[in-house]
């Protein structure tokens, strides 16, 4: 009974010694190349998996419609949507404008509202968070405006500003404004007291401390708020365009429903989603630049 295991153990030891002889130490370059190639391989494999996931989803969808499992009247095939995508650049039917015009209109609205929200919201939040008097002055008004859902501004906006760019930009502005203010405010409130003391001892005035310590401290939170603002802006844009517009991606989707054209609706959704991804990515680049010290 006891001889068996110890015998096999002995064998293992011998084989380990053998393999040890076969091992040759890698040179520096070989080791670096090996680590790099392994890293590249993993990155490539993961990217492939993502691609395969998307393709598999589209393929199942395509097959489900082509085989008649899903009715093609209600669910367009992905291939049809791709076709429509290329066609729509030149064909204004049935909603009255080519895809490019819709995209440009939506971008104008979304970006003007979004940037206005940053330009007003972030400084407002930072000043409210830093200067106690200003906070007490502004906070009641802000607290009343804050919980109002942005879309509930649509009717009054139409009365005030009509159906144009300004009206929609105002609604988008409102949805993006609130997270900008709140995050800038919360961020600057979390400024370390030690750092404030450091500035005071260096002889900094309250305003200099605000500028050199407060604002940089708040940037991480502020960017998180800007991310939320971007999402809000984009979502509200589509809602606003579906209710009050004569151009834009939201309007195009709405017209797709009017004309019973699900392919137009799906195309609109895909374009909106893709633009959203692109903007989130661009924002990530800016954030990387500003918060470059965070590694």
């Amino acid at each position: 009974m006891r001889i068996g295991p110890s015998f096999s153990l002995h064998k293992e030891v011998i084989s380990m010694n053998d393999s040890e002889k076969a091992v040759r130490q890698l040179t520096n370059e070989e080791r670096i190349a090996k680590v790099q190639s392994e890293k590249r391989k993993t990155t490539f494999q993961l990217a492939m998996l993502s691609l395969i996931g998307v393709l598999a989803f589209l393929l199942i969808w395509q097959l489900a419609v082509a085989s008649g499992f899903l009715p093609s009247r209600y669910v367009p095939m992905p291939s049809k949507v791709v076709e429509l995508f290329f066609l729509k650049w030149t064909d204004p039917n049935p909603d009255g404008a080519v895809l490019g015009a819709h995209i440009v209109s939506s971008l104008q609205v979304a970006l003007s509202g979004f940037f206005l929200a940053i330009a007003i919201g972030v400084p407002l939040g930072l000043t409210m968070g830093w200067f106690k008097g200003f906070d007490s002055f502004m906070r009641p008004i802000f607290e009343i405006l804050r919980p109002i859902p942005p879309v509930s501004w649509i009717p009054i906006t139409i009365i005030w500003l009509g159906l144009g760019l300004k009206a929609k930009a105002f609604i988008v502005f409102f949805s993006a404004f609130v997270p900008c203010v709140i995050n800038a405010y919360t961020g600057i409130r979390q400024t370390s007291q030690t750092l404030i003391n450091v500035a005071k001892i260096c002889g900094a005035s309250n305003f200099t401390t605000f500028r050199t310590i407060g604002i940089p401290s708040a940037m991480t939170m502020t960017f998180a708020g800007i991310r939320v603002a971007l999402g809000n802006a984009w979502a509200t844009l589509v809602a606003a365009e579906m209710l009050a517009a004569n151009l834009g991606l939201g309007y195009m989707i709405q017209q797709g429903r009017q004309f019973a054209r699900p392919d137009i609706i799906i195309l609109g959704i895909v374009v909106i989603g893709t633009l959203g991804v692109i903007f989130t990515w661009l924002l990530g680049l800016v954030e990387g630049k500003v918060l470059g010290w965070k590694k």
Partner: protein, 253 residues
């Protein structure tokens, strides 16, 4: 250098706070003198009073009673002749070592070239040349405190306050930093007020030790440490003083 000249004087300083609707005395009737260019250690148990005294000297808070005199004149608020090194997390993480060190001169509006020169001098003094462009997150705890010391020096203070600067460091680094701070102080003599709760650290560094009581803080005893530097931590006189101070120290909860 007249080492007996009084640089800073605390006269009957008291400080109280309201905590949970009750008045809490942090310091009661603290008087002491700090001599020019001496290394004074405020030694006390627990977390009572020491930091508060430093904050009052630094002008970060006002005492309820008493006054603080610098060169015979009462100081109110922060004074640019007084600099401070904090315990931890006192570096701006978004600034490089160089930018952190030149912060004070920059605030005072000094032009880029002279302030870079000053900052570089003190970065070299604390032994961090080559790390000018590093961010604090890339540095070890001991290196971060070196940056803090360099920054305090770059303001060219006459009095340097150090608030348990090595309290958050591991024991090995702490010993190394104690030697460093002594070397730096001997190169660039300033009046130093150094807060610690570590008796050995106090004896290793101090010209004089002011022993504070537990809450509320008041001055319990003052010790002149006349041992030659650098000090030997197992020298019989060192150990005797250590025992004496230890016996006289209140227990902290």
């Amino acid at each position: 250098m007249d080492s007996e000249k009084v640089k800073l004087k605390l006269e009957h300083i008291s400080q109280s706070y309201i905590v949970n609707n009750q008045v809490f005395d942090a310091a009661v009737d603290v008087s002491m003198e700090v001599r020019d260019s001496e290394f004074l250690v405020l030694l006390g148990p627990g977390r009572c009073g020491k930091t508060i005294l430093l904050n009052m000297i630094a002008g970060l808070e006002k005492p309820v009673d008493g006054r603080i005199l610098l060169d015979g004149e009462e100081i109110k608020g922060s004074d640019e002749r007084i600099g401070m090194v904090f315990q931890k997390r006192a570096l701006m993480p978004w600034k490089t070592v160089m930018q952190n060190v030149e912060f004070g001169p920059k605030i005072k509006g000094m032009a880029k070239e002279p302030r870079r020169e000053i900052a570089q001098k003190y970065i070299n003094l604390v032994g961090l040349q080559g790390f000018e462009k590093s961010y604090p997150d890339e540095l070890s705890g001991g290196m971060k405190q070196r940056v803090s010391i360099a920054r305090a020096y770059a303001n060219d203070p006459e009095i340097l306050l150090m608030d348990e600067p090595f309290g958050a460091l591991d024991a090995q680094t702490r010993y190394a930093m104690e030697e460093e701070v002594q070397r730096i102080w001997e190169t660039e003599k300033r009046t130093v007020i150094f807060v610690t709760n570590n008796i050995e650290e106090a004896l290793y560094l101090a010209d004089r030790i002011v022993l504070l009581s537990n809450c509320p803080a008041h001055v319990k005893a003052v010790y002149d440490v006349k041992l030659p530097r650098p000090r030997n931590t197992i020298d019989p006189e060192f150990l005797r003083l250590r025992r004496e101070i230890s016996d006289n120290t209140d227990l902290a909860l």
